[in-house]
Amino acid sequence: MQAEATARHSDLSEKDNRALISVFSAYTVTATLWLLFATGVGLLIAFKFGAPEFGGGAWLTFGRLRPIHTNATFYGFASIALVGLGYYVAARSCGTKLYSAALAWTGLVLFNVAALAGTVALDLGYIDGDLEYREWPWWTRLIFLAAVLVSAWNLIGTVARRSSADIYLSNWYIMGGTLWGAIIAIVGVMPWYQYGLGQVAVSGFYMHNAVGMWFTPLALGVIYYSLPKLLNRPIYSYALGVFAFWTNLLFYPIIGAHHFEFSPLPWWLQTIAIVFSVAMLVPVWGGSSNFLLTMRGRIRDLIHSYPLMFIFVGVMSYLIGSTQGTLEAFRSLQQVWHLTDFTVGHSHLTMYGIISFVIWGGIYGLLPLATGKKASQLGMALHFWMALVGCFIYVTSLSIGGTIQGLDWMHGLPFIQSVIDMQSYYVGRGVGGLLMFSSHLVFAWNVWRMCYGTGAVASPLQALRAEESVA
């Protein structure tokens, strides 16, 4: 079906093709700029744990920069990059042109205006509450919602023009992710049911679903397209992918309250969240084994292809990070880990290990197919290894440190002891963060080469394979 779809793509006019390529490139470039900004801020605030006087004054105070870091990562970098990839995947897998290039550009402007306005507002102290991942003033979040709706409409329109009867699995996730993302944004912004403890319940829903029903589906959609494309072999089991899609949809939205265990939220709400956190093992293990089985026996291809290596790390993080999330939800382990830096390690293992690595794999794998320009092997190698080692140091430091923090509290030590005990782990976080940020500088250079540089034309093997899959 995919072959048939791609065959039609040669019928597309050169103009439509160019429109898609410039949309994909522009989304990637602005996402890269947000990545540099967001992780630069992240690095600054990581240093503040060891040197609290570093960067003084209201505009550089930790409490303002922290939501700037998280929101710019989420809604600047990851959202824009994934929607850009989503357009390319939808158009190519459906063998058609974009429903509307103008709408795609409108969406890009809206995304960037929202992120810019939100960032400036937060730094000036205009905040809608320290409500994780929805701190931007409500009107900026409405601009973001508009961007998501425009993208959803455009993606559905593109899939509706497909040249085949079937809808490829990637598009299930990409259309679903944008539509669900719109619902999440609406639930998060409406005020009428968000007073006191009611707002706590909404926070639990929002912070969890923003990650798992917006970023994860889009990233999975990118994997379902890139992996078969890069390996030139179909996905191991299409049925397993469909099964994972529906189980993820049914289980994931229920587990948000596990962010507020032992809080005054109703006990049954917390218990249901824990039960379904265990159920999440079904789509997670189903999805990741599907990807790993698609890669089976192709280790040589894997180690010679950085795009595949990025995606492989993304898949492994999906397996490990999500399983860790299930374990963390148990009350016995939450007693130790809740409110410690272990959580921060977990969020980086998932948002960085899964989402960012899949984005990078997708961009390195697909952008050269679009522009015909490749990043250098050395550039990709530097990016990959610095990001991987940096993330490993970061997550390991905070996981060990967070455990010690939690045990200090359980043993009834004076609170300040947990602050003292974290110091060396905060240094570890800073070192990991520095490597991660450096890798992003290399990534920016690679993106430049793939979009505007005179970089080498996609390797003959790659081109040949692309041709093969067309045939």
Binding site: V159, I183, Y193, F260, T343
Partner: protein, 335 residues
Amino acid sequence: MNKLLLIAGGSTLVYACLAWTMGVWPGIELSKIPAGPGVEPLTALQSEGREVYVANGCSYCHTQQVRPLDADKVFGRPSAPGDFKYQTPELLGSERTGPDLTNIGARQPSSVWQYIHLYNPRAVVPESIMPSFNWMFAVVAEAPAGVTPVPLPNNYAPAGGVVVPTHQAEALIAYLAALKQPALPASAAPSASGASGAPSATGASSGEAPTTAKASAAAAPVGNYDATKGAALYTANCSACHQASGEGLPGAFPSLKGDAVVNKDDATKHIDVVLNGLHDARVSGVVYSSVMPPFSGTLSDAEIADLIDYERSSWGNHGAPITAAEVGVERAKAK
């Protein structure tokens, strides 16, 4: 088209239903929870302070939720649903890089301490990694009438002039002072008042710690108190003001080192101060405006005995040691 409708429309419909059930509907129901007994709305100044707290992201490091766990007992009683009636936006937080502030108004009632700490946390807690909020203060040649300058230790004070809080800092400290948990009536334990089927561990754990503390105190002979425990209790409860050196901060918090009450063999006054707190105290001819909180509600007799014995035998002090029983006598007197 049918396929498209099924996948995009069907999944969205399912998701919308789940979003309603797990997000919006709990939001609607829980928004209706009435205020618990003694839970009052904030005053205008305190609300302003809360906005300063929110705008500067204090809750990224300080939670405002006390869990029904042993580890959280130092922060107050477990939070109850009725505590959150006037808390929008909610500030429960997800990280505890710094201590929980649910009950900070009771745990640290001294606004003098709060001002010094806000200006530069390391002036009172050397190991603190909290940012300085000195930009919420102004340095002036002379404090205006009616405003008390912040009594900073010399090595943290600016070279010239005195430090006075801006309106922003005053509002913030007023808000922190208002963070006091009202006592729950015995019948309305946090578990019973809304969250049905509460943590079964609660009852067991809240009864456990004092029992063990008492047991160990009974075993400890007079004059041979548990020094490790005493030191830990001092660090957790006293050193923020009186400092690890026991010397306090000149003009802000009195010294315990060589202090007459601490070194007097009759410990009645010493026990009384720890149990019931102190305000406007005159120590060695200086009047201290900072308030000392009472510890009768948070520490057991045995813990107070360990703590007092630690103070009486540290920094060159040589007051006669006391026992938990003596604390019990004083506690009974207060009632």
